[in-house]
Amino acid sequence: MLTFLIVGAFPVDYHNTREQLLLLEDAFWLVAGTLLLAYAIAMFRLSFSKLRLGFLLMALAGWMIVLDKFLSLFQRLGLFSLPSWQEVNFIFEVLFTLGLSLGLLSLLFVFIQLSRQSIRRIAARAPHPSPPYSENYISTKPSQAR
């Protein structure tokens, strides 16, 4: 909203700068995608089998966005042109979003499972509390029944 107000207040011809902005956006998403790919691969190698599916999906999402933005950047710079670029771009975007959401969902599912297991383990290890009443219990207080 603030961006909207600030940018709307200044009469600058944004139509000329839009292409530059889109180029910059592609470049930054390329960096973000590469970082996502690096993080997912690193965590995939470090983690155990249950967590690996989530990181694998995240790595696939990272790979999709890297490919998408790489092609988009080259397309904008005019280095080459694909005939069905819109369709390719759309498929990459869908795969990126789906991969990232499913990867995070898988990670969350495993973490919830792990936390439940650890709660059960802690509960099993804890000493059992003594029963509040036993046959050997002798009250020192006078009985209230009378």
Partner: protein, 111 residues
Amino acid sequence: MIQELLNILANMWPYLAVALWFLIAVLALVLQRFLASPAWTLFSFAALLKMTKAFLLMSPSWEMGSMDFLTLAALISLVSALCFSLALVMLLANYAVIRHRLINKRHLEGF
């Protein structure tokens, strides 16, 4: 068959994209409770920005002053990419710390 599926997906995609980015933002926030890293909050913020972009692209075209919705969407996406990159750099730094601790632990235990 595949073409039909793609057409259905293309028609649904503007709404699905908003829903999926919202889901990613919520998931990142919940993951922050388990992984205890502020990077996930930033990740969630970036996802919310992407959701805003998807929402802007869903609405009919408009123009305010000298700025149209496509330029604003590109600007929001740019900020989102910056936040994403920063969050991932923080996560990678966290990974390096975890790896270092694991190597130290293995070294102390004599493998």
